[in-house]
Symmetry: C2
Subunit: 657 residues, 2 copies
């Protein structure tokens, strides 16, 4: 058994006598300490580093007056071992894409992460004390404002799905030796998303992924479901196809050996199940309920804890540390020119926007190797299978696990890919918390929700996306595109690929006629005025399938001598405020919105907001105002008041006044 | 080994020689067939019934022209065995609360469920052929429009969490012998929510819960992750603490024995892992990819399938069937009078709305035994622990598994309880798909989201609920209450308990002064005008913490000689359109909304919609318009433009015009 300074720097543990560690932590440490001076030095250095991380976490949270020092304390040896012996990275360049990755899924232990980066030399100790201040990037939970944070965490159960995305990227796309380390809490293991990721991780044989669970037994409000039943944790993770290693999470030798074993396995991911004590090292808080999310009070409380910790130091400040160099094979970054595709549609062709999405994605994939796609077992309905067929190596079937799908997309985006994740619009609600966190991360993910609205027909309300615009537009940095025909859907995919940040494309199920020529240009923030005259008495704003209802209403009203303007709201967010204001003014303030979406939070509200400061606007919002049901698409459009007939009726009323 | 007609009717299987079934389906059947005439009769009757269910499912979907006959075919023996031998229920009274419960989590197999209820005598065969029509309650996926459906399904992975709620109810609240059967697909096992439920199910030792997984190997767009790896399924469910029984899902004897074993175990739930063939019995579709969600074409395709199935019948129509009577101990239904609690607060007391929620729930629980509560390991932050302390038997800790929490709440509501499920507002996004389905079910659930908005402070954006109003108000039948002080929060809990259907209460983190007297009345659909004069120049509409900002702005502006009206929008949905319209008119159309929520889908949009048809309204919406960050509450309220100062500035601009 050897601990050696590896050729690329840093301390490495060479476990030629693997397996002995199960005898218990004291025996492990004694045995290792008895070997060489280098081993003794490594162990005491990592132990001291863990103690330092505890002290810094306490100092920062006490200074801030809030935070989670006891959740930091339980994971201190894990982080010390990973950051100062196991991981290969350039501490001066945390954003180097060749670095091994560390994701703090238990985001409330943020001070521990910040302390590690301080001791790695990237942050000053003084900066640690700005924790949680409005002028500091050291937020209460980590966000990518910091260069060493890839995805925002703090909503539990999201780190492992993001890690799946990064591990897929390294293994299958970048073919890099990069390793992905994710630190989870035990409480968050109850989140289903963790098990979605567990299943997918073994399915894709992600041996470059290593999770660690800080099993400290205590949640926020009481003991966790499994407390310290390490055998149950082991059985679950093994059953999900992982190498599961239960260790004493405060034993540096045990952790070193576990990470060494993790690096050696080639056909599955590894989870290190670290049995720990919450509040470890803080005498009055160790393993006690009621200490979650409480900073130690400045003065006696803080001082006594720090005094106790300092007394545990072997050598005071650890000696100089040589970082291990990142793996050589860094991912390549291809040059990508502007897209030069052209929608293969002519006016009048019958094309569903979901079909155009799939076709466009496949076409764009040709010129842009960064494009990748994920789907949740509906690729034959969303048409993402077009991309899969052309680029099977850049397509990841995520099965029916939408949270992991979005999390993995975030991970892929963090590694520079442009992931398109598609499913039915309604099932994106499954992953709203992930979408919310992707927005906080400004993640470059592209979401495509098909089967929007009642116009899907007979499958009924469970399959109808009727709240997706409300959900997506609420995120302030989300671009929301809602193409009505094949050409605009094609351009929406192009637009989305080119926009930095999260984008949502809303697509429909039914085939509709192509209304734009193949060279028509579309842009986020711009709408299309489809019908216009000098005599327009009402502006009708529609999107997707209701554009066709509006056009039908236009023609019928024209026969009655009533001219109306018709706007295709291609971009719901940002919205073309100027065009809408001008049209509203030109039609005497009379505006009708019509949408295949619930009444709150959709097109109607977006238009109302755009016109909020316009004097004399009267707006009628046609939308789905009750829970719908099964039926034929046309029947449902009529029944829920968003048909050409409903528009005509409203226009007549408005025009009569 | 015996199959006997049980004392309460129906056929029962008494497996005194349990275990033999593992020898394989042929051996099982042969052995059982060799026993008694009664056994032979039961087996062939259930086999024929399965064949009939297949035929009816094909007829209904072919008539509808869409649907999922192959997903029905794989589960036909499971449903035949459950409905015609295992389950105890009154087929003439599907809503009898004493009945055993069947939840079709794989909702796309709806025709199979409808066929079973037809053969049980509740539906006519003719009605089956109205499947998916707009005038029929036999929708594409089941909804509670039908008396035998407790919760809408069709978004996969939701049936088991609902079953958890029903099993908790039967075991811990109603102390009934009722058993809960849930049929899942294998594809949906990838959903994390299934594993949330699995963990909770064994934690609460729900031996009255029996899941069956129809492992038919094929998803919608290709093979499932595990295909027919029954050993992996078994290992996972066993590791999650369930009795896991892998059987041939087309073997009636094997299923009978499995359900018998399920009924005998007392300390854990059971999962029957039924290995099946998708499209079983339809020669050209059996075990073939590409047949998901496709009705057989009327004519040759349909006829040939039905011909093949009919040739498998032993006896044609099965003989008369005696339903097994429901268990005797039906849940009691207590009489509940109107609430007679009084908020224990005086004007000026400092109370957080989340605190008042917890206190009110505990107080209301005294007079209303139907009230139950669930929380996701934040009960000490949401204050639902007040209820837990008073009524530990009616509180269910759901740990950090929000999807299961909402699903379980739906299950409890379906059994007549009034469940309050609480967590941070932001974490309800985790369960949006469940909330959406609860709305489709018109489920009587009460959701409480605390820690709304940037006013939570230092924890940062991951913990801030900023899209909850968008999400909740989008559901057209969701009542959304947003109390500003302790008294109104208390009344919101009372209101919520009394409203039939889903209700959301938005609560805040900070303590704020009580502004209403303890006898003030509040109602959904009504707002409160807090400041009013004949000279008001602007109407300010606020909610929660921004009510205080509006009041501060009012006072400051009063000193400048500018009178403004201040409205506390206690009820966001339904909204008090009349009061808002009147105020807007009385202030010359000048309206400002101010909210601790993102700009889209919140209070501002709700008010805009309420005033959409008012001429001459000019509305300015103050809301959080970018991703926020950590900081002190007051700093964040100021920085994101929703402070008294921001309101004053807007009023000055509007008043200057």
């Amino acid at each position: 058994m050897h601990l050696t300074a590896g050729p690329s720097g840093g301390w490495r543990y060479d476990a030629r006598e693997g397996g002995w560690f199960e005898r218990g932590p004291a025996a492990e440490r004694d045995k290792l300490m008895a070997t060489t001076a280098a081993n003794r030095q490594l162990i005491t250095a990592l132990e001291d580093e863990a103690t330092r991380l505890r002290i810094l976490s306490i100092r920062a949270t006490s200074e801030a007056g809030s935070g989670h020092p006891t959740s930091c304390a339980s994971a201190a040896e894990i982080v010390s071992t990973l950051f100062f012996s196991v991981m290969r990275y350039d501490p001066a360049n945390p954003g180097d894409p060749a670095n091994d990755v560390f994701i703090l899924s238990k985001g409330h232990a943020a001070p521990l992460l910040y302390a590690a980066w301080a001791d790695a030399g990237f942050l000053t100790e003084g900066r640690l004390l700005t924790l949680r201040r409005i002028d500091s990037d050291l937020e209460g939970h980590p966000t990518p404002r910091l260069p060493f944070v890839d995805v925002a965490t703090g909503s539990l159960g999201q780190g492992l799905p993001a890690g799946i995305g990064m591990a897929l990227c390294a293994r299958y796309l970048d073919h890099s030796d990069q390793r992905i380390y994710v630190l989870l809490g035990d409480g968050e293991s109850a989140e289903g998303s963790v098990w979605e990721a567990a299943a997918i991780g073994s399915h894709y044989k992600l041996s470059n992924l290593c999770a660690t669970i800080d099993v400290n037994r205590l949640g926020q409000s009481g003991p966790t479901m499994l407390e310290h039943q390490m055998d149950v944790y082991e059985a679950r993770w093994r059953a999900f196809g992982w190498q599961a290693l239960a260790v004493d999470g405060h034993s540096v030798p045990a952790l070193l050996e576990a990470y060494e074993k993790a690096a050696r396995v080639t056909d599955r991911p590894t989870v290190v199940l670290a049995r720990t004590i919450k509040g470890k090292g803080i005498p009055f808080a160790e393993d006690r309920n009621g200490w979650h999310g409480k900073a130690l009070k400045k003065g006696e409380e803080e001082n006594s804890a720090i005094h106790a910790l300092e007394s545990q130091l072997h050598d005071g400040r650890p000696g100089p540390w040589t970082p291990r160099k990142p793996p050589r094979r860094a991912p390549s970054r291809p040059e990508v020119g502007p897209p030069s595709t052209r929608p293969p549609y002519s006016i009048g062709d019958m094309v569903a926007t979901r079909e155009a999405f799939g076709a466009a994605l496949a076409a764009l994939g040709e010129g842009n190797p960064l494009l990748v796609a994920l789907d949740g077992d509906v690729k034959n309905s969303t048409f993402s299978e077009d991309f899969q067929k052309r680029f099977p190596d850049r397509f990841f079937e995520d099965f029916i696990a939408e949270q992991n799908m979005i999390g993995a997309a975030m991970g892929l985006a963090a590694r520079g890919k442009i992931p398109f994740a598609s499913t039915f619009a309604c099932f994106l609600t499954r992953a709203y918390d992930f979408i919310r966190m992707a927005a906080i991360s400004s993640s470059n993910i592209k979401l495509v929700g098909t089967h929007a609205g009642v116009s899907i027909g007979e499958d009924g309300p469970s399959q109808m996306g009727l709240e997706d615009l409300a959900m997506m537009c609420a995120e302030p940095n989300m671009t929301v595109l809602y193409p009505a025909d094949g050409v605009s859907a094609w351009r929406a995919v192009e637009n989305a690929a080119g926009i930095a940040g999260p984008v949502y494309i809303r697509a429909g199920r039914p085939k509709t006629p192509v209304i734009y020529g193949p060279d028509e240009k579309f842009a986020a923030g711009r709408c299309k005025i489809l019908r216009r005259s000098g005599r327009d008495r009402v502006t009708i704003v529609a999107g997707g399938v209701t554009v066709y209802e509006a056009l039908k209403a236009h023609d019928q009203l024209a026969r009655e001598g009533i001219a109306v303007r018709v706007i295709d709201l291609y971009s719901v967010q940002p919205i073309d405020q100027e065009a809408l204001q001008q049209s509203a003014r030109e039609t005497g303030g009379a505006v009708i919105t019509v949408e295949d979406h619930y009444a709150h939070g959709g097109i109607g509200d977006a238009v109302l907001a755009a016109l909020a400061e316009e004097p004399e606007v009267k707006l009628r919002k046609l939308a789905v105002r009750e829970i719908p049901r099964s039926g034929k698409p046309d029947e449902l459009i009529a029944r829920f008041g968003i048909s050409a007939g409903a528009i005509v009726e409203q226009v007549r009323q408005m025009a009569a006044k």
